[in-house]
């Protein structure tokens, strides 16, 4: 009961999040309805293609949420979060591969095609158990968690921070990418895992499976959001912010900074793993490209676009950027990068707090106007160091 009321209170206070959650809920219901109940020839019908596309955005949103949790609240800029996403994806992919059974091109029930072809005689030990959905789902959480734990334990204990941490996370994902590229690793090399048939006995290509996966992604995102919101609105959240902005001071207050970081990093990795696991059956392939450092950089950019340190901003950013990508690549295949690039630049310049900050930015400016009404604000001074729309009398020295 107590927990319940507490939950209520933290969620209730989070207006932006509530709005976002209700939009998400509505979207899940409406899209499902428009896909299932509205006839195909009706202009309102949403194709399964679109549903799956949205399912993908939702997975990306969950991934972005995971990044915002550590970056926005704890100041850990991970440039390698794609690695955890990919690991979750591989765990799911391995399960899906096992489900193919003897329906692969060589008809070998014991081994995935790529192993047959490479003359492998038996399933390597690390593939054992992936026939079971339960085991695979545990691995979806455990594999990223273990990697995050080992890596985080080393790095946080040694007090690796800032860009140094960012760069070694990047080195981590880069190294994993190169490793997974190698056929000898037993994960299908560059081609990765693909040609999945079904999940839990349901045909992956059927509309109902797709809708279910879409819904699952939406629910995972909502739960992930609530979990993250709960964390950041507890005192733990305040400690995280303290760690982000004054790590050493927080230590002198008696907080074991490395434990906080480790806990939140592992949690974030697990969220990313879940996102990856939901992503793979919807896009139908997982390959080492997901480990590419540039992917991880991009995903940080979704968060920055959406507004870091707000959680719902990350979700917004991920969906918007990816929607823009889908849209731009379709309508302007030769020039879409101009648009996307410009979008990034313009957002940075005009929305310093990201899309999520737009609202508060407008409110702030109104308040300021009210306060200073009657007198013309003096603008020329120092605004060469300021964003064109930043508060005029902000201290320049804030570095």
């Amino acid at each position: 009961m107590k927990v319940n009321s507490m939950k209520d209170s933290f969620l209730m206070k989070d207006k932006g999040g509530l709005r976002m959650l209700s939009i998400l809920g509505a979207a899940l219901v409406i899209i499902t309805f428009l896909n299932q109940a509205v006839p195909v020839d009706n202009p309102l019908h949403v194709t399964t293609y679109t549903v799956t596309l949205f399912g993908k955005y939702l997975c990306y949103a969950l991934l972005a949420l995971a990044v915002d949790l550590i970056w926005g609240y704890c100041g850990i800029l991970s440039l390698g979060h794609g690695a955890f996403f990919a690991l979750g994806g591989y765990a799911m992919g391995m399960y899906l591969m096992r489900q193919i059974g003897d329906r692969g091109v060589y008809g070998n029930a014991e081994l995935p095609d790529f192993m047959v072809f490479l003359d492998w005689q038996e399933l390597p030990w690390y593939w054992q158990g992936f026939d079971s959905f339960g085991f695979a789902m545990v691995m979806v959480l455990v594999a990223p968690a273990i990697l995050a734990f080992v890596f985080g334990w080393l790095a946080f204990r040694s007090r690796v921070t800032g860009v140094y941490l960012s760069i070694i996370t990047q080195a981590l994902t880069y190294a994993l990418m190169l490793a997974f590229f190698q056929n000898d690793m037993g994960f299908g090399g560059n081609n990765g895992l693909t040609d999945f048939k079904d999940i839990l006995g349901f045909d992956l290509q059927s509309d109902s499976t797709r809708i279910s996966l879409f819904l699952a992604s939406g629910i995972a995102l909502a739960l992930g959001y609530i979990l993250c919101r709960w964390i950041v609105s507890s005192r733990l959240g305040r400690v995280l912010v303290a760690v982000r902005d004054a790590e050493s001071r927080t230590r002198f207050l008696g907080y074991r900074v490395e434990h906080y970081k480790l806990m939140i990093f592992v949690l974030s990795a697990m969220l990313a793993g879940v996102a990856g696991a939901l992503y793979v059956p919807q896009v139908g392939i997982i390959n080492p490209g997901e480990f590419a450092p540039i992917n991880s950089i991009e995903l940080v950019i979704w968060v920055a676009m959406g507004g870091r340190g707000t959680l719902y901003g990350a979700i917004l950013g991920a969906i918007l950027v990816n929607y823009a990508k889908t849209w731009f690549t379709g309508v302007l295949p030769d020039a879409w990068l101009f648009l996307l690039g410009a979008l990034f630049v313009v957002t940075t310049l005009y929305l310093p707090k990201g899309i999520a900050g737009l609202y508060s930015q407008i409110r702030e400016r109104q308040a300021e106007k009210k306060a200073t009404s009657g007198s013309t604000p003096n603008s020329a001074l120092e605004n060469n160091e300021q964003s064109p729309h930043a508060s005029k009398s902000k201290l320049v020295e804030e570095v």
Binding site: S234, L253, R256, M263, I264
Partner: protein, 252 residues
């Protein structure tokens, strides 16, 4: 290591501590003993090593040689900052350092004595009692109408006060206070002195200051540091009349 005799009522014990930075000896064979419930003023020229001494006690700086013991048996050089804070040593820094992106209230809340593991923080709930503690403290440090202000936006002196408030809420056994009166008005300076004298009734306190009026108001034993070691020790009067102290510190 603890074969030296340390009196029972000693809470902090520094012996033969030295530390150097790139060859420069900032602390040089420093020894100092603080008793339980003692209030001690430390003065000395700029660069004498006062803040560095506090760095060593709080685990920020590791000494090259020397012993640092807390409560007789705990070797502080073997612990890190968070450990030492949890053992009961709190500190106010010379340069006001608060968590600038959190509000005044949140700063105080984080400082509040209590358990500090991640899970405990996650399930932490402010009790009525805690609430009153925080409200009182905010009033005491004159920030009650700026409780919701982000700490980065309060003035220099207000940050000093906030930090003092945070230090008190931690309820440490030993308080290390580095230049609390800097940037305060004369009246506030005296208020601070009163406060520290009061605190020292139940705890041990080391105060560093350059304001002699303030030190006088503290009315306690004074240690003068110079070039990393103790130059003189005694009552303020005695110290103030020490030729060497006048020469290097007070001026004529």
């Amino acid at each position: 290591m603890t074969d030296k005799h340390i009196p029972d009522d000693t809470i902090l014990y520094l012996n033969g501590v030295s530390v150097s930075f790139d060859g420069f000896k900032a602390i040089n064979g420093l020894s100092l003993v603080l008793k339980e419930g003692e209030l001690r003023a430390v003065i000395g020229p700029n660069g004498a090593g006062k803040s560095t001494m506090m760095d060593i006690i709080t685990g920020k700086t590791r000494p090259d040689v020397g012993d640092v013991y807390f409560k007789g048996e705990i070797d502080l050089t073997q612990h890190d900052e968070a450990d030492i804070a949890n053992l009961g040593i709190g500190r106010k820094f010379q340069k006001p350092s608060v968590i600038e992106t959190l509000t005044v209230w949140e700063n105080l809340e984080l400082a509040l004595a209590g358990n500090r593991t991640p899970l405990q923080s996650l399930f932490f709930k402010l009790t009525k009692e805690n609430h009153k503690q925080l409200t009182d403290m905010a009033a005491y440090i004159n920030l009650d109408d700026q409780k919701e202000t982000v700490a980065g936006d309060i003035s220099h002196g207000q940050k000093q006060w906030l930090e003092i408030g945070m230090l008190l809420l931690q309820e440490p056994e030993v308080l290390l206070v580095d230049e609390p009166a800097a940037g305060m008005t004369d009246e506030e300076t005296f208020k601070t002195a009163d406060l520290l004298r009061d605190v020292a009734k139940s705890r041990s306190v080391i105060v560093v200051e350059h304001d002699m009026e303030f030190v006088k108001a503290l009315d306690c034993k004074v240690t003068v540091l110079h070039e990393g070691s103790v130059l003189s020790e005694g009552t303020l009067d005695a110290v103030q009349n020490d030729e060497q102290v006048i020469e290097v510190y007070l001026g004529r």
